[in-house]
Amino acid sequence: MNITRRHMLVLLPAAAIAWKHVLAGTPEASPNYTMSEHWWGMLIDLPNCIGCGNCVRACQTENEVPDGYFRTWVERYHVTDYDIENPHVDSPDGGKKGFPPAKEAGGKNFFVPKLCNHCADSPCTQVCPVGATFISPDGVVLVDKTYCLGCRYCVQACPYGCRFIHPKTLTAEKCTLCYHRITKGLTTACCEACPTGARQLADLKNPNDPIHEFLKTHNVQILKPYMATHSKVLYNDLDGSVR
């Protein structure tokens, strides 16, 4: 049994190229990836979310997110039928360890996973004074941490609370939509770890992506549409009380 997986893959040339880069993480990764052919987003299928916190944990290990900060998190909503505009929301440790039994009975209850919306008109990249955060040609909002000043203006400008300052590097941090994975043909860590398919990576430029069929047949909304950020994280069956 001296044949490692790497050896096996040499025998399967098509997969081998991608896999080699997946593991080596070399900058010239995935030579067959062309930025202009993609426009990334994500579908959150809310009726499938069970609040297990797998996505939060997966994101933390995949991206070394420091404790107490979140690139993705899960909120639990409790909406009473007499005051639908003022939901009770909790998210203990971002839902990383799941959720304790609810304090209040009755009403409407559901989970909402949150992450960077990878807005096409992102207020955070607009305010960056030096061009350290930007929208990549494939539609992902990224931070160049070797160029970031740490002025925190972008954190203030995000309407969704998706950014934070990394306590060690003192630069802005956020969801990269697992850019190191999606450019190698993999899905994001949170989608990979989601047991119910409540999170699905979507390539809006790929005509064969199932997202297109889904959008035709479901009630899909985005968060805070009045912010006009052209968010690309699409929520199926989103309740009006979610903010």
């Binding site: 096996m8 069970i50 290990t61 639990r76 350290a132 990224l142 993999l186």
Partner: protein, 161 residues
């Protein structure tokens, strides 16, 4: 001509400003990263650097290439769409060199309740139990096999009580 001479100090000041401006232009050409502006107002190389990060989750495709038997077992059950690493955790190192890292044996008493512990906010159709009442402390895999969790008639009679 006299006015020209009397404004001499202003020309000196202007020279200081021009020198400062030229120094700025020179320094700027030297300090701005080469790939800046390649795609937009940012460093073009930044994307390749971010993409260069190694992965931790290998992805189910990689698991299934070797563990076809488990895939087969899953196909018959409700967990068919649950990816391997959703329960087993990130195992890219194992996928790279199976000998290097052995996945830890999972404790079903901890694992299963992450998803199946009853919570009012979970979708009504999702199978959930109050674990304390449901199994009286027995680990889940006493009755359920995680790769295909439904209890078949054969297993119920043959399994431990």
């Amino acid at each position: 001509m006299n006015a020209f001479k009397d404004a001499g100090h202003l020309f000196r000041l202007a020279a200081v400003f021009v020198a400062g401006g030229m120094a700025f232009v020179g320094v700027r050409a030297f300090l701005v990263p080469k790939s800046f502006g390649q795609y937009g107002h940012y460093r073009g190389n930044a994307m390749a650097e971010i993409a260069a990060r190694p992965v931790n989750f290998a992805g189910h495709q990689a698991c299934e290439d070797c563990h076809a038997d488990v895939l087969e077992k899953k196909k018959s059950g409700k967990h068919v769409h649950v990816n391997c690493e959703a329960c087993h955790g990130p195992l890219a190192k194992h996928a790279d060199d199976p000998g290097s890292i052995q996945p830890a044996k999972l404790d079903t008493a901890v694992l299963c309740v992450r998803c199946h512990e009853a919570n009012i906010a979970k979708p009504k159709t999702f199978p959930q139990v109050v674990s304390a009442d449901h199994s009286s402390g027995l680990p889940c895999d006493t009755c359920h096999q995680p790769h295909s969790p439904a209890i078949t008639a054969e297993e119920t009679t043959g399994g431990k009580k």
